[in-house]
Amino acid sequence: MPQLILEQALNGLQFGLMLFLLAAGLTLVFGIMDMINLAHGSLYMVGAYLAAAATQAGGSFVLGVGAAMLGTAMLGLLLEMTLLRRLYARDHLSQVLATFALILIANEAVRIVWGAQPVMLNAPDELSGPFEAGGFSYPAYRLLIIAVGALVAGSLYMLVAKTRLGMWVRAGASNREMTEALGVNVRRLFTAVFAVGAALCALAGALLGPLLAVQVGMGESILILAFVVIVIGGIGSIRGALVGSLLVGLVDTLGRAALPALLRGFLSPEAAGSLGPALASILIYLLMAAILFFRPEGLFPARA
């Protein structure tokens, strides 16, 4: 039993950290430019595909991940400078639709290049086995994801919370006009933030690739989870994104594992069997609705 709980908690942590990699970029884009970018999930998808292709070509997973991050950052840069820029001044409806169009285009483009079938992305062989310590065993690769995720999340958090650059970013997210008045080039700052966000998407896509299928449409489901995260955390707040990610990751994973069993305690096995998974799959949306009901601007509102 403790093995199971610990395992699920680690799974939740791993999922939460990966969500944070996506949510971090998304929340800053949202916060600074007041821009909804649905295509954020497409960057995640493209990152995973690039990692698979580069790993196959170069024979090294680490190299593949690096190449994917670089490539996706470049793509993000290109996208920001040519297209998204035109949308900042537009209303949310236009942003939703334009980036919805980008999703359609990205999905079809990936289908044209890589085909409709999922592609394989294998974890390095050294990490394919379980990690064992004191009677507890857990897949080594997942442990690596947790380590990398925690490292990146930690340094990103420090970067935004403690450095001068981070101060500009935070200032930009809470009050863009004021930050511009202070002489910060918010445009350029934002282009940089967008590229970094894209690279983080690729990192998440590449790391999750061996666990989930690398396929068209993989970006959409996780995109919506990332939105849930930043809405829970408060748009524009990196701290909110971190707390929200871990919350969503843990609640979702533990809910799926525990709810059916929990419900069996006071419902018939039949009812529990059908209600359990249903309830587990909407748990995080319930969480979000509840949080927004009491705090309509999320847990850590960035704007005063």
Binding site: F30, D34, I36, L83, R86, R90, H92, L93, S94, V96, L97, A98, F100, A101, L102, I103, L104, I105, N107, E108, A109, R111, I112, E220, I224, F227, V228, V231, I235, S274, P277, A278, A280, S281, I282, Y285, L286, M288, A289, L292, F293, P296, E297, G298
Partner: protein
């Protein structure tokens, strides 16, 4: 946008289109292309769904990204009732409308507390909630959805006949558009447009803004529920894809293509999108890339949609 005023030119166009649509099954029969009657029903049903969304987005100014939830709720309502032996349209369709209204009241009561981006996201989340709920309910067919054993029964009308079904759908859509026109000119319609234009000012004039928005949202939900009831009949099933978030996105695309806040925007957008899809599918398996590009162009260069292209520039002096 100024307050909605119907122009005689548009009314003439609308009546001409109506005449064309009435003649369509007869023409299809003549050309032995009866398949098109079924396609036309589908277009009209989506026109109804998109119109209901335009009520919320274009007139109410509430950018709902979860409209598919009400659409899907209506569809499932009809199918589940049919499974329990209720086939009468007199019962099932109003039930679908009521389902849409109730769901919209529930979702709206929570979502309308938030503003801007938060509203978009929370409506999206609620629709996803409905989607996952439906997918994980085994008794509702999970991923595969449920099929409808037979179309609803409506008095002496034989809805199994595609042409009859088409005329029923057309009549409903025409009535809804007529009612929508009345609505836009009635006091409620003016208030809701005022809220779209300046919510704080409306509050300061003494309007209970929240209540107006909620009622408008619920009306949209109810109409979407009706559209859902019809689509279940047209397709002979209800599947979870009806509630998926891309469906909400597609409905928004229709509204924007046709013209946000234009009475016939939903109709025009649905017709354009579905017919373009029909043509593109025949040309290339990668037709969605074309759709995406067209959509990008429309958003960037014709944000008021087709209605905007035809609107005369008004001179306010």
């Amino acid at each position: 946008m100024a307050l909605y005023v119907s122009s005689p030119r548009r009314q003439v166009l609308a009546l001409a289109s109506l005449a064309g649509l009435v003649a369509l099954p007869w023409l299809a029969q003549l050309l032995e292309q009866t398949f098109y009657v079924s396609l036309a029903s589908r277009v009209l049903i989506f026109a109804l769904a998109a119109t209901s969304l335009n009520l919320v987005v274009g007139f109410g100014g509430m950018i709902s990204f979860g409209h598919a939830a009400f659409f899907g709720a209506g569809a499932y309502c009809v199918v589940v009732l049919a499974q329990n032996g209720v086939f009468s349209a007199w019962l099932a369709w109003p039930a679908a409308v009521a389902m849409g209204v109730l769901l919209a009241l529930l979702i709206g009561a929570i979502s309308l507390r938030t503003r801007g981006v938060y509203f978009i996201m929370i409506t999206l989340a609620f629709a996803q909630m409905a989607f996952y709920l439906v997918v994980s309910l085994k008794s509702w067919g999970g991923d595969d959805g449920l099929s409808l054993a037979q179309r609803s029964t409506l008095g002496w009308l034989d809805l199994k006949d595609d042409a009859v079904f088409y005329y029923v759908v057309l009549a409903l859509l025409a009535f809804v558009l007529f009612a929508f026109d009345r609505f836009a000119h009635a006091r409620f319609g003016r208030v809701i447009q005022g809220i779209r234009e300046n919510e704080t000012r409306m509050e300061a004039l003494g309007y209970p803004v929240f209540a107006y928005k909620l009622v408008c949202f619920a009306l949209g939900g109810g109409l979407a529920g009706l559209a859902g009831a019809l689509i279940a009949n047209q397709a002979g099933m209800a599947g979870p894809n009806l509630l998926y978030w891309t469906q909400s996105g597609t409905l928004l695309v229709m509204v924007v293509l046709g013209g946000v806040g234009s009475l016939y925007g939903g109709f025009v957008g649905a017709a354009l999108l579905l017919l373009a899809e029909e043509v593109l599918v025949g040309l290339t398996p990668h037709w969605q890339i074309g759709l995406g590009l067209v959509l990008l162009v429309v958003v960037l260069w014709a944000p008021r949609g087709v209605a905007g292209l035809f609107a005369r520039k008004r001179d306010d002096g």
